[in-house]
Symmetry: C2
Subunit: 516 residues, 2 copies
């Protein structure tokens, strides 16, 4: 344990007998040998002179490690070192998730999530940015939504864990570049407007009080590398530890955007692009987020579709992991070909609706209706665009470093989508490279993991601030052969079958079984 | 010139063609080689994204040197490097004096002073401290008075120099420990209550905005060493450069309190004590501050008293420099003896009033009155107490270092009182040691000088922060033989005549002349 926020119990010698050292210096003096540069925030200082005497010079200081110094953010009577807590958050544009950790043990005591209240200004981030543009009061509204989301989570964690914000001294945040701009009330317009430069990458430490958050202490946001490669990705990169390994690693986080990193402890190259709502189900009329009733897995056995739904509720639509499974299974069964076109003769589930082919992957049985749940030819093409964009990003990164897919020793899969999709299916459709399965590591919510790790490992602070200097950003928007490359990736799994040997093998096996 | 506040003109490469570096990093990158750690204050950052584009990427940044980094506090269109200004202030408990400097040339463009508005809560600092004790709103009132005094001076300097606070980026302050506590709104009670420990010695940098001062930038206050040895003394010490010299120096600042430093570039010992209102004329019914009409110099020639008054107005009282002259001349002429007792036969000006001897040093002639202006035997005793306290402090310091008065190579006289009194008279009455006159240096308002020097010499910042570690504080309140020592100093010039050879010589000459 090397927590970024420490509590130290001090029994100070009271002044007198010629020792007239000032209160502040008396505290700093007691900590100087072990912590070198120690400072006290102005607000803490204001209250100190009475407290020290009320506490009979026996007190616990709470200190946070900053770039060059430790900052004391709290003084408490007696020895409270056993109660030292902090928050870690993933500040997503859709969802905000927060954990409360015991900073002595590193234990996670609670986790809560909430929809980002910014959503009322638009589900898509760009609507919110346009809302805030050149309008100081709109910008403030969006900042307030962000802060109110965080405050609500602090309340929830108080209720569920019984630990009050009065005992928490730090909040670490992984968030994308736009979210951090809005958190600080800084107009994010130029992040999305050519030439796509954020106002800042490093946010550093901010007083919680300056953001009107309900605890005494500091807020730290991971720095970003560029517009699309935000603090959430930097946080996940730190959580994955890929930056410390000699092995070549590929970090993939596909959500609303797709962000990728390729590298090791020598160098890291990044790329990003809009993955769009495809993976959250937005490509299909019946596509949906991963909520109860969403089809989340699909198998085709004996030419019959078998589905599961979230919380085993009656099906009402399909989410990202269901779509990936559906396409992979249809490809393996020959219901669709390598270009994604339906082979209608392969199943009665393939039907014509509104002048195009579609697969009836389930029926919505709610309230006596018998409506078909369809995934259409158009849906497939849309999804394949997204999948191709992701695949093309990987190709670019590999080409830029002049390495082959097989050189990748570890693939780190981050994000909710990556956590839930079936790895075999994702490889089958060519979303991920076809590599030995033991090379894949599911990171989970990398942004949240990295934020939580920082709470208990102060060394990540300088790692984060240094690493963003070393990450090169490959701007795909300016690549001239993007469309050519994307076209190649627009097949299932790819125009170059040799890149997907295990998929070819599976195809052979399945089709052999069938003809038997 | 090594100003603590610099303006740098930048012509930044606009983003584009693959260069998507964030605005903040774009600025920092341009300064990194020359200035290493550069940061931008949050408020400056908030406005930056529009400004950079409005300015067509040609801008002037204003940076202030802090402990570990340069902080950018302002962005301006085009090249404004020629206009770079700052304030320096002596924050005294009676008077606040402020200068406006051109930070490119070091020229002082204006100086204004004002009575500290805290005075309405008591002329004596202790009344104000009691007013603020345990009362948050009273404490705020005193803080407001302090800030309002500073704001008024900024206004005055704007009027007299034509330079607006919008072009000033820094305010450096020398002030005593209590004044700096009140400036920040921190209760100073324990500075004056046993065991006399301030809440803090180091104030560091504060955003002007956080104090609601009317300029964008930072406020820096010199640190204090102890309750009585404040930032004003540290400032003066830096101005005197005594801390850099190999020669043993004595720094004397006698005002409401007496503060003294003895040392050189190896060590510095400090002592302080209440000098009381004696030197501001408060010991005598007709004593007064150095205002028009105050008797400020006295000579006795041919047994006749010759006086001058401030601004040559009709006499209405006597100020510190007049008192020192009066006593010195009366001693040399034998009107008083070594114990300060009147020899009434020496002059008809020595009269009996209210049952004690007194000297009629002038008549108040205003509006037909003919009132005697008197300095009584009681006034003399009171003044001699003050003079003895100062002399005893010097003795203590010398004894603590085991050196003789003659070892002092330089005597730095700081403060308004020290600037105005006659050096010969001060030595004659034993207020200063009897040393070759060329060893005396009149520093003037050391607190103001040091604050102004910091504006144009950033090296003083670390010098100040380091030096307070090296100054030892000699607590006179705990010395057991103080009264014995003080008794010895209660003679004019001293019980030990050998310490005052030139005074003995003068006495001999004067009395010889007289008998001729």
């Amino acid at each position: 344990m090397n927590s970024i926020c420490r509590k130290i119990y001090l029994e100070l010698k009271p002044p007198g007998n010629g020792d007239m050292v000032a209160d502040k210096d008396r505290i700093v003096r007691a900590l100087k040998n072990a912590y070198k540069n120690v400072n006290i925030s102005a607000d803490t200082l204001k209250s100190s002179y009475k407290l020290l005497r009320d506490f009979d010079w026996k007190l616990t200081v709470t200190m946070i490690k900053k770039d060059y110094e430790w900052e004391i953010v709290r003084l408490e009577r007696g020895n409270t070192t056993e109660r030292n807590f902090g928050y870690a958050a993933d500040l997503g544009s859709t969802t905000v998730i927060m954990r409360l950790l015991d900073l002595n043990s590193g234990d996670v005591l609670g986790e809560e999530s909430i929809f980002n209240k910014q959503i009322k200004y638009g589900e898509e981030i760009i609507s919110r940015i346009i809302h805030a543009k050149d309008n100081e009061s709109h910008l403030k509204e969006l900042q307030q939504c962000t802060l109110s989301s965080i405050s609500d989570l602090i309340d929830s964690l108080h209720r569920t864990t019984g630990i009050s914000p009065a005992e928490c001294s730090i909040l670490t945040i992984g968030g994308n570049t736009t979210m951090i701009h809005l958190l600080l009330g800084i107009d994010p317009w130029f992040i999305f407007h050519t030439p796509y430069t954020p106002s800042f990458n490093r946010c550093g430490f901010v007083q919680a009080k300056d953001l009107a958050l309900p605890f005494n202490g500091l807020v730290y946001c991971y720095p970003s590398v560029a517009n699309y490669v935000g603090g959430d990705i930097v946080s996940g990169l730190l959580a994955s530890e890929m930056y410390k390994s000699e092995e070549l690693g590929l970090y993939i986080d596909i959500g609303t955007n797709g962000e990728m990193l390729l590298g090791n402890n020598q160098f890291i190259l990044s790329a990003a692009g809009a993955a769009g709502p495809a993976l959250e189900g937005g490509i299909s009329k019946q596509g949906m987020q991963a909520k109860p009733g969403a089809v989340d897995s699909v198998r085709i056995i004996n030419n019959q579709i078998m589905i599961t739904t979230i919380q085993a509720e009656r099906p009402i639509g399909i989410c990202g992991s269901g779509i990936v499974d559906l396409l992979a299974e249809m490809l393996l069964e020959g219901w669709i070909d390598f270009s994604g076109s339906f082979n209608p003769e392969k199943s009665e589930r393939i039907v014509i609706r509104d002048n195009e082919y579609a697969v009836v992957y389930a029926w919505e049985l709610e309230s006596g209706s018998n409506e078909e749940l369809l995934f259409t030819q158009t849906d497939i093409q849309r999804f394949m665009n997204t999948k191709a964009a992701a695949g093309t990003m990987v190709s670019y990164l590999l080409e830029a470093l002049n390495v082959e897919p097989g050189d990748i020793q570890k693939v780190y899969i981050a994000g909710a989508f990556g956590t839930h999709i079936n790895l075999e299916s994702a490889i089958t459709i060519g979303l991920y490279p076809d590599l030995p399965r033991e090379r894949f590591v599911i990171v989970g919510n990398g942004s949240l993991e990295g934020a939580a790790m920082l709470l208990v490992n102060a060394a990540l602070l300088s790692a984060a601030e240094n690493i963003i200097e070393d990450i090169d950003y490959l701007s795909l928007g300016e690549a001239t052969d993007f469309l050519t490359k994307m076209y190649a990736a627009k097949f299932l799994p790819h125009t170059n079958f040799e890149l997907y040997p295990t998929v070819m093998e599976k195809l052979k096996v399945r089709r052999t079984n069938k003809t038997n």
